[in-house]
Protein backbone atom coordinates (compact mmCIF):
# COMPACT_ATOMS: atom_id res chain seq x y z
CA UNK A 1 0.00 0.00 0.00
CA UNK A 2 1.07 3.53 -0.71
CA UNK A 3 2.15 5.68 2.21
CA UNK A 4 0.46 9.08 2.03
CA UNK A 5 1.70 10.59 5.30
CA UNK A 6 4.80 9.78 7.26
CA UNK A 7 6.41 11.30 10.32
CA UNK A 8 9.94 10.65 11.54
CA UNK A 9 10.98 11.27 15.15
CA UNK A 10 8.36 14.00 15.43
CA UNK A 11 8.57 15.99 18.68
CA UNK A 12 7.07 19.14 20.13
CA UNK A 13 7.99 20.73 23.43
CA UNK A 14 6.40 23.73 25.08
CA UNK A 15 9.00 25.09 27.48
CA UNK A 16 10.32 22.05 29.33
CA UNK A 17 7.22 20.02 28.73
CA UNK A 18 7.41 17.47 25.94
CA UNK A 19 3.88 17.20 24.57
CA UNK A 20 4.79 15.00 21.65
CA UNK A 21 7.89 12.87 21.37
CA UNK A 22 9.32 10.19 19.12
CA UNK A 23 6.31 9.84 16.89
CA UNK A 24 7.01 7.65 13.87
CA UNK A 25 3.85 7.21 11.90
CA UNK A 26 2.92 5.78 8.56
CA UNK A 27 -0.53 6.44 7.21
CA UNK A 28 -1.59 4.39 4.21
CA UNK A 29 -3.64 5.75 1.36
CA UNK A 30 -7.35 5.01 1.65
CA UNK A 31 -7.08 3.90 5.26
CA UNK A 32 -9.29 5.09 8.07
CA UNK A 33 -7.06 5.68 11.08
CA UNK A 34 -8.23 6.81 14.50
CA UNK A 35 -6.10 8.37 17.16
CA UNK A 36 -7.21 7.74 20.70
CA UNK A 37 -5.72 8.50 24.07
CA UNK A 38 -6.68 10.14 27.33
CA UNK A 39 -7.07 13.91 27.57
CA UNK A 40 -3.69 15.60 27.37
CA UNK A 41 -2.12 12.71 25.49
CA UNK A 42 -1.14 15.10 22.69
CA UNK A 43 -3.71 14.15 20.06
CA UNK A 44 -4.65 17.67 19.00
CA UNK A 45 -1.03 18.81 19.22
CA UNK A 46 -0.13 16.03 16.81
CA UNK A 47 -2.87 17.27 14.47
CA UNK A 48 -1.59 20.81 14.75
CA UNK A 49 1.85 19.58 13.76
CA UNK A 50 0.49 17.61 10.82
CA UNK A 51 -1.64 20.45 9.48
CA UNK A 52 0.98 23.13 10.10
CA UNK A 53 -0.48 25.18 12.94
CA UNK A 54 2.60 24.34 15.02
CA UNK A 55 6.19 24.01 13.92
CA UNK A 56 7.73 20.81 15.34
CA UNK A 57 10.65 21.13 17.73
CA UNK A 58 12.35 18.32 15.87
CA UNK A 59 11.56 15.61 13.37
CA UNK A 60 10.14 15.65 9.87
CA UNK A 61 6.79 15.17 8.17
CA UNK A 62 6.39 13.75 4.69
CA UNK A 63 3.27 14.01 2.59
CA UNK A 64 3.30 11.81 -0.51
CA UNK A 65 7.05 11.51 -0.12
CA UNK A 66 7.59 15.26 0.02
CA UNK A 67 9.07 16.97 3.09
CA UNK A 68 6.39 19.40 4.25
CA UNK A 69 7.79 20.14 7.72
CA UNK A 70 8.35 23.82 6.95
CA UNK A 71 5.31 24.50 4.78
CA UNK A 72 2.58 26.89 5.98
CA UNK A 73 -0.97 25.85 6.79
CA UNK A 74 -2.20 27.34 3.52
CA UNK A 75 0.45 25.56 1.45
CA UNK A 76 -0.39 22.21 3.04
CA UNK A 77 -4.08 22.76 2.34
CA UNK A 78 -3.25 23.45 -1.29
CA UNK A 79 -1.37 20.13 -1.45
CA UNK A 80 -4.54 18.28 -0.47
CA UNK A 81 -4.47 18.08 3.31
CA UNK A 82 -7.59 19.36 5.01
CA UNK A 83 -8.63 19.47 8.62
CA UNK A 84 -11.63 20.19 10.75
CA UNK A 85 -11.28 21.72 14.17
CA UNK A 86 -12.21 20.53 17.64
CA UNK A 87 -13.45 23.98 18.59
CA UNK A 88 -15.85 25.10 15.91
CA UNK A 89 -13.93 27.31 13.54
CA UNK A 90 -16.22 29.02 11.03
CA UNK A 91 -17.04 32.51 9.76
CA UNK A 92 -19.80 33.59 12.15
CA UNK A 93 -21.13 36.61 10.24
CA UNK A 94 -21.37 34.84 6.87
CA UNK A 95 -24.25 32.62 5.79
CA UNK A 96 -23.89 28.86 5.80
CA UNK A 97 -23.73 28.81 2.02
CA UNK A 98 -21.11 31.58 1.88
CA UNK A 99 -18.96 29.70 4.38
CA UNK A 100 -18.89 26.69 2.10
CA UNK A 101 -18.64 28.78 -1.07
CA UNK A 102 -15.45 30.35 0.25
CA UNK A 103 -13.98 26.88 0.65
CA UNK A 104 -15.11 26.07 -2.91
CA UNK A 105 -13.45 29.26 -4.08
CA UNK A 106 -10.21 28.10 -2.49
CA UNK A 107 -10.57 24.64 -4.03
CA UNK A 108 -11.08 26.09 -7.51
CA UNK A 109 -7.92 28.16 -7.03
CA UNK A 110 -9.85 31.41 -7.52
CA UNK A 111 -7.41 33.38 -5.40
CA UNK A 112 -6.72 36.84 -6.78
CA UNK A 113 -9.64 38.27 -8.77
CA UNK A 114 -9.86 42.06 -8.46
CA UNK A 115 -13.34 42.25 -9.99
CA UNK A 116 -16.44 40.17 -9.35
CA UNK A 117 -16.88 37.22 -11.67
CA UNK A 118 -20.55 36.28 -11.35
CA UNK A 119 -20.17 33.16 -13.46
CA UNK A 120 -17.42 31.76 -11.27
CA UNK A 121 -19.26 32.65 -8.07
CA UNK A 122 -22.44 30.98 -9.31
CA UNK A 123 -20.53 27.82 -10.13
CA UNK A 124 -18.94 27.82 -6.69
CA UNK A 125 -22.32 28.42 -5.06
CA UNK A 126 -23.83 25.49 -6.97
CA UNK A 127 -21.02 23.27 -5.78
CA UNK A 128 -21.55 24.53 -2.25
CA UNK A 129 -25.27 23.68 -2.51
CA UNK A 130 -24.38 20.07 -3.35
CA UNK A 131 -22.07 19.77 -0.37
CA UNK A 132 -24.74 21.35 1.81
CA UNK A 133 -27.00 18.46 0.87
CA UNK A 134 -24.27 15.90 1.53
CA UNK A 135 -23.98 17.02 5.14
CA UNK A 136 -27.73 17.43 5.67
CA UNK A 137 -27.70 21.21 6.00
CA UNK A 138 -30.12 22.01 3.19
CA UNK A 139 -32.73 24.60 4.02
CA UNK A 140 -30.18 26.48 6.12
CA UNK A 141 -28.32 28.14 3.25
CA UNK A 142 -29.15 31.69 4.29
CA UNK A 143 -28.79 31.31 8.05
CA UNK A 144 -25.83 33.18 9.52
CA UNK A 145 -23.34 30.59 10.69
CA UNK A 146 -23.35 31.99 14.23
CA UNK A 147 -27.08 31.24 14.49
CA UNK A 148 -26.75 27.54 13.64
CA UNK A 149 -27.19 24.94 16.37
CA UNK A 150 -24.00 23.41 17.68
CA UNK A 151 -24.61 20.17 15.80
CA UNK A 152 -25.15 22.05 12.55
CA UNK A 153 -21.97 24.02 13.13
CA UNK A 154 -20.08 20.74 13.38
CA UNK A 155 -21.65 19.66 10.08
CA UNK A 156 -20.69 22.99 8.51
CA UNK A 157 -17.16 22.42 9.73
CA UNK A 158 -17.07 19.10 7.86
CA UNK A 159 -18.76 20.65 4.81
CA UNK A 160 -16.02 23.25 4.54
CA UNK A 161 -13.43 20.52 4.77
CA UNK A 162 -15.24 18.54 2.05
CA UNK A 163 -15.45 21.56 -0.23
CA UNK A 164 -11.67 21.71 -0.30
CA UNK A 165 -11.67 18.23 -1.91
CA UNK A 166 -8.77 17.02 0.21
CA UNK A 167 -7.18 13.61 -0.17
CA UNK A 168 -6.10 13.48 3.45
CA UNK A 169 -8.75 14.48 5.97
CA UNK A 170 -7.87 15.26 9.56
CA UNK A 171 -11.02 15.20 11.69
CA UNK A 172 -10.51 16.58 15.17
CA UNK A 173 -13.35 15.31 17.39
CA UNK A 174 -16.22 15.94 15.00
CA UNK A 175 -18.70 15.01 17.73
CA UNK A 176 -17.18 17.25 20.42
CA UNK A 177 -19.87 18.76 22.59
CA UNK A 178 -22.88 17.63 20.57
CA UNK A 179 -25.91 15.95 22.01
CA UNK A 180 -26.57 12.20 21.76
CA UNK A 181 -29.44 12.71 19.30
CA UNK A 182 -27.19 14.49 16.86
CA UNK A 183 -24.43 11.88 16.86
CA UNK A 184 -26.02 9.52 14.27
CA UNK A 185 -26.26 12.31 11.69
CA UNK A 186 -22.58 13.20 12.12
CA UNK A 187 -21.67 9.52 12.06
CA UNK A 188 -23.51 9.11 8.78
CA UNK A 189 -21.63 12.05 7.29
CA UNK A 190 -18.32 10.51 8.34
CA UNK A 191 -19.32 7.13 6.94
CA UNK A 192 -20.06 8.79 3.62
CA UNK A 193 -16.60 10.35 3.74
CA UNK A 194 -15.12 6.94 4.41
CA UNK A 195 -16.93 5.34 1.49
CA UNK A 196 -15.15 7.62 -0.93
CA UNK A 197 -12.04 5.63 -1.97
CA UNK A 198 -10.15 8.88 -2.65
CA UNK A 199 -10.23 9.78 1.02
CA UNK A 200 -7.61 8.95 3.59
CA UNK A 201 -8.96 9.87 6.99
CA UNK A 202 -7.38 10.42 10.36
CA UNK A 203 -9.87 10.85 13.18
CA UNK A 204 -9.47 11.97 16.76
CA UNK A 205 -12.42 10.74 18.76
CA UNK A 206 -13.37 9.88 22.30
CA UNK A 207 -16.51 7.88 21.57
CA UNK A 208 -15.06 4.36 21.55
CA UNK A 209 -18.01 2.66 19.88
CA UNK A 210 -17.68 5.04 16.96
CA UNK A 211 -13.91 4.54 16.74
CA UNK A 212 -14.23 0.74 16.78
CA UNK A 213 -16.98 0.84 14.21
CA UNK A 214 -15.21 3.11 11.72
CA UNK A 215 -11.50 2.42 11.97
CA UNK A 216 -9.26 0.23 9.88
CA UNK A 217 -6.49 1.03 12.27
CA UNK A 218 -6.20 2.61 15.70
CA UNK A 219 -3.26 4.52 17.11
CA UNK A 220 -3.04 4.98 20.86
CA UNK A 221 -1.19 7.99 22.22
CA UNK A 222 -0.17 8.18 25.85
CA UNK A 223 1.82 11.03 27.39
CA UNK A 224 2.83 12.21 23.94
CA UNK A 225 4.21 8.89 22.86
CA UNK A 226 2.93 6.17 20.60
CA UNK A 227 1.74 3.44 22.91
CA UNK A 228 0.22 0.99 20.47
CA UNK A 229 -1.16 0.67 17.00
CA UNK A 230 -3.18 -2.03 15.34
CA UNK A 231 -6.54 -3.24 14.15
CA UNK A 232 -9.50 -2.40 16.40
CA UNK A 233 -9.79 -5.91 17.81
CA UNK A 234 -6.06 -6.02 18.54
CA UNK A 235 -6.22 -2.71 20.36
CA UNK A 236 -9.09 -3.83 22.59
CA UNK A 237 -7.15 -6.86 23.69
CA UNK A 238 -3.86 -5.03 24.16
CA UNK A 239 -2.93 -5.10 27.85
CA UNK A 240 -0.90 -1.89 27.75
CA UNK A 241 -3.86 -0.01 26.31
CA UNK A 242 -6.19 -1.52 28.87
CA UNK A 243 -4.10 -0.30 31.76
CA UNK A 244 -2.92 3.01 30.35
CA UNK A 245 -5.92 4.37 28.61
CA UNK A 246 -8.94 2.47 29.66
CA UNK A 247 -7.73 2.21 33.23
CA UNK A 248 -8.48 -1.51 33.27
CA UNK A 249 -12.15 -0.92 32.55
CA UNK A 250 -12.88 -1.92 28.96
CA UNK A 251 -14.72 0.65 26.84
CA UNK A 252 -15.03 3.22 29.59
CA UNK A 253 -15.95 6.45 27.90
CA UNK A 254 -13.63 9.25 28.85
CA UNK A 255 -14.69 12.92 28.71
Amino acid sequence: MEVILETKQLAKTFGDHAVIQNINLKIFKGCFTSIIGPNGAGKTTLFNLLSGQYVPTSGTIFYKGRDITNLSVAARTRLGMGRSFQLTNIFPELTTLENIRLACQAASKDYYGFFPNKKKFRKQAEEAEKILHDVYLHGKEDVLAKNLTHGDKRKLEIAMLLALKPELLLLDEPTAGISIEEVPAILEVIENLKNNPEHTIILIEHKMDMVLHLSDEIIVLFNGELLARGKPNEIIRDDRVQTAYLGGVPFAKSG
Binding site: S72, A74, I90, L102, D110, Y111, F114, F115, N117, L164
Partner: protein, 330 residues
Amino acid sequence: MLAAKLNRIYGYSGVIILLLLLIFPFTNDSRSMLILLTQVFIFGIFAMSYDLLLGYTGIVSFGHCLFFGIGAYSTGLVLNTFATSISMFFLGICLGFLLATVVSYIIGMLSLRLQSHFYAMLTLGFSELFLVIAEKWRSVTHGGDGFTFRAPAFLQDRLFVYFFALASMVMIFILLRLFTNSSIGKVLRAISQNEARVQALGFTVLHYKVIASIVAGIIASYSGALYAITLRFVDPSVFSIEMTLDALLMTMIGGVGTLIGPILGSGVVEFLQHYLSQLGSQFPIFERWTLFLGLLYIVVILGFPKGIVGMFQELSKRDVKESKNYRKSA
Protein backbone atom coordinates in the same frame (compact mmCIF):
# COMPACT_ATOMS: atom_id res chain seq x y z
CA MET B 1 -39.04 40.48 -0.90
CA LEU B 2 -39.17 43.43 1.43
CA ALA B 3 -35.42 43.54 1.95
CA ALA B 4 -34.84 43.74 -1.79
CA LYS B 5 -37.47 46.45 -2.01
CA LEU B 6 -35.76 48.43 0.73
CA ASN B 7 -32.44 48.02 -1.00
CA ARG B 8 -34.00 49.41 -4.14
CA ILE B 9 -35.36 52.36 -2.17
CA TYR B 10 -31.86 53.04 -0.81
CA GLY B 11 -30.49 52.73 -4.33
CA TYR B 12 -33.02 55.22 -5.70
CA SER B 13 -32.43 57.70 -2.90
CA GLY B 14 -28.70 57.46 -3.63
CA VAL B 15 -29.33 58.33 -7.26
CA ILE B 16 -31.62 61.22 -6.27
CA ILE B 17 -29.02 62.64 -3.89
CA LEU B 18 -26.44 62.32 -6.64
CA LEU B 19 -28.70 64.24 -9.04
CA LEU B 20 -29.29 66.93 -6.41
CA LEU B 21 -25.54 67.24 -5.93
CA LEU B 22 -25.15 67.60 -9.71
CA ILE B 23 -27.60 70.48 -10.01
CA PHE B 24 -26.71 72.04 -6.66
CA PRO B 25 -23.98 74.42 -7.97
CA PHE B 26 -26.44 75.88 -10.50
CA THR B 27 -29.16 76.62 -7.97
CA ASN B 28 -26.99 77.93 -5.19
CA ASP B 29 -24.14 80.39 -5.54
CA SER B 30 -22.83 80.16 -2.02
CA ARG B 31 -19.11 79.74 -2.48
CA SER B 32 -18.47 78.38 0.99
CA MET B 33 -21.10 75.69 0.49
CA LEU B 34 -19.44 74.59 -2.73
CA ILE B 35 -16.08 74.35 -1.02
CA LEU B 36 -17.59 72.52 1.94
CA LEU B 37 -19.22 69.90 -0.27
CA THR B 38 -15.98 69.45 -2.20
CA GLN B 39 -14.30 68.71 1.14
CA VAL B 40 -17.02 66.19 1.95
CA PHE B 41 -16.32 64.32 -1.31
CA ILE B 42 -12.57 64.32 -0.75
CA PHE B 43 -12.82 63.10 2.83
CA GLY B 44 -15.45 60.61 1.73
CA ILE B 45 -12.80 59.06 -0.54
CA PHE B 46 -10.25 59.14 2.28
CA ALA B 47 -12.66 57.54 4.77
CA MET B 48 -13.67 54.83 2.25
CA SER B 49 -10.02 53.87 1.89
CA TYR B 50 -9.75 53.71 5.68
CA ASP B 51 -12.81 51.50 5.93
CA LEU B 52 -11.34 49.07 3.43
CA LEU B 53 -8.78 48.34 6.15
CA LEU B 54 -10.88 48.72 9.28
CA GLY B 55 -14.29 47.45 8.21
CA TYR B 56 -13.53 44.98 5.44
CA THR B 57 -10.24 43.45 6.52
CA GLY B 58 -10.18 44.15 10.25
CA ILE B 59 -6.83 45.94 10.19
CA VAL B 60 -6.48 48.98 12.46
CA SER B 61 -4.29 51.78 11.17
CA PHE B 62 -3.17 54.70 13.34
CA GLY B 63 -1.28 56.37 10.57
CA HIS B 64 -3.50 56.42 7.54
CA CYS B 65 -2.73 60.14 7.13
CA LEU B 66 0.65 58.91 5.93
CA PHE B 67 -0.80 58.06 2.53
CA PHE B 68 -3.02 61.14 2.44
CA GLY B 69 0.06 63.28 3.06
CA ILE B 70 2.11 61.42 0.47
CA GLY B 71 -0.54 62.19 -2.14
CA ALA B 72 -0.81 65.83 -1.11
CA TYR B 73 2.95 66.45 -1.07
CA SER B 74 3.63 64.55 -4.31
CA THR B 75 1.09 66.57 -6.24
CA GLY B 76 2.02 69.86 -4.60
CA LEU B 77 5.73 69.41 -5.06
CA VAL B 78 5.51 68.26 -8.67
CA LEU B 79 3.28 71.20 -9.60
CA ASN B 80 5.49 73.62 -7.68
CA THR B 81 8.79 72.36 -9.02
CA PHE B 82 7.90 71.68 -12.63
CA ALA B 83 5.46 73.35 -14.97
CA THR B 84 1.86 73.96 -14.00
CA SER B 85 0.07 71.75 -16.47
CA ILE B 86 -2.41 68.93 -16.63
CA SER B 87 0.23 66.37 -17.41
CA MET B 88 2.22 67.47 -14.35
CA PHE B 89 -0.92 67.14 -12.24
CA PHE B 90 -1.31 63.55 -13.37
CA LEU B 91 2.40 62.94 -12.93
CA GLY B 92 2.04 64.15 -9.33
CA ILE B 93 -0.87 61.79 -8.74
CA CYS B 94 1.07 58.88 -10.24
CA LEU B 95 4.10 59.71 -8.12
CA GLY B 96 1.81 59.65 -5.08
CA PHE B 97 0.47 56.23 -6.14
CA LEU B 98 3.97 54.89 -6.58
CA LEU B 99 5.18 56.14 -3.20
CA ALA B 100 2.02 54.98 -1.46
CA THR B 101 2.42 51.52 -3.02
CA VAL B 102 6.04 51.21 -1.97
CA VAL B 103 5.46 52.48 1.59
CA SER B 104 2.31 50.42 2.19
CA TYR B 105 4.01 47.33 0.75
CA ILE B 106 6.98 47.74 3.07
CA ILE B 107 4.83 48.40 6.14
CA GLY B 108 2.52 45.53 5.21
CA MET B 109 5.27 42.98 4.67
CA LEU B 110 6.97 44.02 7.91
CA SER B 111 3.96 43.97 10.17
CA LEU B 112 0.96 42.17 8.71
CA ARG B 113 2.24 38.68 9.44
CA LEU B 114 2.05 39.69 13.08
CA GLN B 115 -1.05 40.69 15.03
CA SER B 116 -2.96 43.71 13.87
CA HIS B 117 -1.66 46.20 16.45
CA PHE B 118 1.83 45.95 14.96
CA TYR B 119 0.43 47.42 11.76
CA ALA B 120 -1.26 50.15 13.80
CA MET B 121 1.99 51.07 15.56
CA LEU B 122 4.13 50.86 12.44
CA THR B 123 1.82 53.12 10.41
CA LEU B 124 1.79 55.55 13.33
CA GLY B 125 5.60 55.49 13.43
CA PHE B 126 5.92 56.02 9.68
CA SER B 127 3.43 58.89 9.68
CA GLU B 128 5.39 60.63 12.46
CA LEU B 129 8.55 60.04 10.46
CA PHE B 130 7.04 61.67 7.38
CA LEU B 131 5.75 64.52 9.52
CA VAL B 132 9.27 65.21 10.73
CA ILE B 133 10.64 64.96 7.20
CA ALA B 134 8.01 67.42 5.97
CA GLU B 135 8.93 69.86 8.75
CA LYS B 136 12.70 69.56 8.65
CA TRP B 137 13.65 68.95 5.03
CA ARG B 138 13.17 72.62 4.23
CA SER B 139 14.97 72.72 0.89
CA VAL B 140 12.32 70.40 -0.60
CA THR B 141 9.20 70.66 1.55
CA HIS B 142 9.51 74.32 2.65
CA GLY B 143 9.29 73.25 6.29
CA GLY B 144 6.51 73.76 8.78
CA ASP B 145 4.94 76.73 7.00
CA GLY B 146 4.16 74.67 3.95
CA PHE B 147 4.00 76.23 0.51
CA THR B 148 1.47 77.44 -2.01
CA PHE B 149 1.52 76.38 -5.61
CA ARG B 150 -0.37 77.15 -8.78
CA ALA B 151 -2.92 74.63 -9.95
CA PRO B 152 -3.43 73.93 -13.68
CA ALA B 153 -5.92 76.36 -15.21
CA PHE B 154 -8.83 73.94 -15.37
CA LEU B 155 -8.45 73.13 -11.68
CA GLN B 156 -8.58 76.76 -10.60
CA ASP B 157 -12.28 76.91 -11.27
CA ARG B 158 -14.10 76.00 -8.04
CA LEU B 159 -17.03 74.63 -9.98
CA PHE B 160 -14.85 72.32 -12.00
CA VAL B 161 -13.04 71.12 -8.88
CA TYR B 162 -16.42 70.41 -7.31
CA PHE B 163 -17.47 68.18 -10.20
CA PHE B 164 -14.06 66.63 -10.43
CA ALA B 165 -14.16 65.64 -6.74
CA LEU B 166 -17.74 64.38 -7.04
CA ALA B 167 -16.91 62.30 -10.11
CA SER B 168 -13.81 60.93 -8.38
CA MET B 169 -15.83 59.93 -5.34
CA VAL B 170 -18.50 58.18 -7.40
CA MET B 171 -15.90 56.40 -9.50
CA ILE B 172 -13.91 55.22 -6.49
CA PHE B 173 -17.13 54.13 -4.80
CA ILE B 174 -17.99 51.98 -7.83
CA LEU B 175 -14.47 50.58 -8.13
CA LEU B 176 -14.32 49.74 -4.43
CA ARG B 177 -17.75 48.17 -4.61
CA LEU B 178 -16.53 45.90 -7.39
CA PHE B 179 -13.34 45.22 -5.48
CA THR B 180 -15.11 44.31 -2.24
CA ASN B 181 -17.38 41.92 -4.16
CA SER B 182 -14.50 40.27 -5.99
CA SER B 183 -12.72 37.05 -5.03
CA ILE B 184 -10.20 39.09 -3.06
CA GLY B 185 -12.92 41.16 -1.39
CA LYS B 186 -14.75 38.06 -0.20
CA VAL B 187 -11.56 36.66 1.29
CA LEU B 188 -10.87 40.01 3.00
CA ARG B 189 -14.26 39.92 4.67
CA ALA B 190 -13.56 36.37 5.84
CA ILE B 191 -10.17 37.44 7.21
CA SER B 192 -11.84 40.08 9.37
CA GLN B 193 -13.94 37.33 10.95
CA ASN B 194 -11.57 34.41 11.32
CA GLU B 195 -8.07 34.78 10.01
CA ALA B 196 -6.80 31.34 11.02
CA ARG B 197 -9.65 29.62 9.19
CA VAL B 198 -8.91 31.51 5.98
CA GLN B 199 -5.36 30.28 6.21
CA ALA B 200 -6.62 26.72 6.75
CA LEU B 201 -8.71 27.02 3.57
CA GLY B 202 -5.50 27.47 1.62
CA PHE B 203 -5.45 31.25 1.14
CA THR B 204 -2.19 32.97 2.01
CA VAL B 205 -3.59 35.59 4.39
CA LEU B 206 -0.53 37.85 4.29
CA HIS B 207 -0.92 38.46 0.53
CA TYR B 208 -4.51 39.57 0.99
CA LYS B 209 -3.74 41.94 3.84
CA VAL B 210 -0.89 43.50 1.90
CA ILE B 211 -3.15 43.93 -1.14
CA ALA B 212 -5.77 45.64 1.05
CA SER B 213 -3.11 47.86 2.56
CA ILE B 214 -1.80 48.87 -0.89
CA VAL B 215 -5.25 49.56 -2.35
CA ALA B 216 -6.19 51.64 0.71
CA GLY B 217 -2.88 53.49 0.48
CA ILE B 218 -3.31 54.34 -3.19
CA ILE B 219 -6.85 55.63 -2.70
CA ALA B 220 -5.85 57.68 0.35
CA SER B 221 -3.02 59.20 -1.64
CA TYR B 222 -5.49 60.15 -4.38
CA SER B 223 -7.73 61.90 -1.85
CA GLY B 224 -4.64 63.71 -0.53
CA ALA B 225 -3.82 64.92 -4.04
CA LEU B 226 -7.36 66.28 -4.45
CA TYR B 227 -7.13 67.94 -1.05
CA ALA B 228 -3.92 69.71 -2.03
CA ILE B 229 -5.34 70.85 -5.35
CA THR B 230 -8.45 72.40 -3.77
CA LEU B 231 -6.40 74.37 -1.25
CA ARG B 232 -3.48 75.00 -3.64
CA PHE B 233 -1.46 74.77 -0.48
CA VAL B 234 0.29 71.96 1.42
CA ASP B 235 1.70 71.96 4.93
CA PRO B 236 2.76 69.21 7.37
CA SER B 237 -0.70 69.11 8.96
CA VAL B 238 -1.65 66.55 6.27
CA PHE B 239 0.60 64.13 8.16
CA SER B 240 -0.97 64.91 11.53
CA ILE B 241 -2.75 62.35 13.67
CA GLU B 242 -5.95 64.46 13.42
CA MET B 243 -6.25 63.41 9.77
CA THR B 244 -6.23 59.74 10.73
CA LEU B 245 -8.68 60.37 13.55
CA ASP B 246 -11.02 62.19 11.17
CA ALA B 247 -11.03 59.16 8.86
CA LEU B 248 -11.59 56.81 11.80
CA LEU B 249 -14.49 58.85 13.18
CA MET B 250 -16.13 59.40 9.81
CA THR B 251 -16.05 55.65 9.31
CA MET B 252 -17.39 54.96 12.80
CA ILE B 253 -20.21 57.50 12.50
CA GLY B 254 -21.22 56.44 9.00
CA GLY B 255 -20.97 52.70 9.51
CA VAL B 256 -18.00 50.35 9.59
CA GLY B 257 -17.81 47.73 6.88
CA THR B 258 -19.83 49.63 4.30
CA LEU B 259 -18.80 52.01 1.54
CA ILE B 260 -21.66 54.46 1.77
CA GLY B 261 -21.10 54.85 5.52
CA PRO B 262 -17.75 56.64 5.30
CA ILE B 263 -19.23 59.07 2.75
CA LEU B 264 -22.16 59.85 5.05
CA GLY B 265 -19.78 60.14 8.00
CA SER B 266 -17.65 62.55 6.04
CA GLY B 267 -20.75 64.66 5.40
CA VAL B 268 -21.77 64.68 9.07
CA VAL B 269 -18.31 65.53 10.39
CA GLU B 270 -17.50 68.20 7.80
CA PHE B 271 -20.86 69.96 8.20
CA LEU B 272 -20.67 69.84 12.00
CA GLN B 273 -17.16 71.22 11.96
CA HIS B 274 -18.33 74.00 9.68
CA TYR B 275 -21.45 75.03 11.57
CA LEU B 276 -20.13 74.54 15.08
CA SER B 277 -17.10 76.69 14.37
CA GLN B 278 -19.39 79.35 12.85
CA LEU B 279 -21.52 79.40 16.00
CA GLY B 280 -18.39 80.41 17.87
CA SER B 281 -18.92 84.05 16.90
CA GLN B 282 -22.22 84.10 18.83
CA PHE B 283 -21.61 81.69 21.68
CA PRO B 284 -18.03 81.66 22.93
CA ILE B 285 -18.36 78.04 24.02
CA PHE B 286 -18.52 76.98 20.38
CA GLU B 287 -15.01 78.24 19.86
CA ARG B 288 -14.18 74.94 21.49
CA TRP B 289 -16.33 73.11 18.95
CA THR B 290 -14.15 69.99 19.01
CA LEU B 291 -15.69 69.39 22.45
CA PHE B 292 -19.05 68.82 20.82
CA LEU B 293 -17.64 66.55 18.15
CA GLY B 294 -16.01 64.56 20.93
CA LEU B 295 -19.36 64.21 22.67
CA LEU B 296 -20.95 63.08 19.42
CA TYR B 297 -18.30 60.39 18.97
CA ILE B 298 -18.90 59.08 22.46
CA VAL B 299 -22.66 58.96 21.86
CA VAL B 300 -22.19 57.17 18.53
CA ILE B 301 -19.81 54.57 19.89
CA LEU B 302 -21.95 53.83 22.95
CA GLY B 303 -25.37 54.10 21.32
CA PHE B 304 -24.93 53.29 17.64
CA PRO B 305 -21.81 51.17 17.30
CA LYS B 306 -22.75 50.27 13.74
CA GLY B 307 -23.13 53.87 12.66
CA ILE B 308 -25.80 55.47 10.50
CA VAL B 309 -25.85 52.70 7.89
CA GLY B 310 -25.93 50.01 10.57
CA MET B 311 -28.94 51.74 12.13
CA PHE B 312 -30.83 51.65 8.84
CA GLN B 313 -29.90 48.00 8.31
CA GLU B 314 -31.27 47.15 11.75
CA LEU B 315 -34.48 48.98 10.92
CA SER B 316 -35.00 47.17 7.65
CA LYS B 317 -34.28 43.83 9.33
CA ARG B 318 -36.92 44.61 11.94
CA ASP B 319 -39.37 45.46 9.16
CA VAL B 320 -38.68 42.16 7.44
CA LYS B 321 -39.18 40.25 10.68
CA GLU B 322 -42.43 42.01 11.41
CA SER B 323 -43.77 41.35 7.95
CA LYS B 324 -42.88 37.68 8.31
CA ASN B 325 -44.72 37.46 11.60
CA TYR B 326 -47.63 39.21 9.99
CA ARG B 327 -47.71 36.68 7.19
CA LYS B 328 -47.63 33.83 9.69
CA SER B 329 -50.53 35.17 11.69
CA ALA B 330 -52.54 36.03 8.59
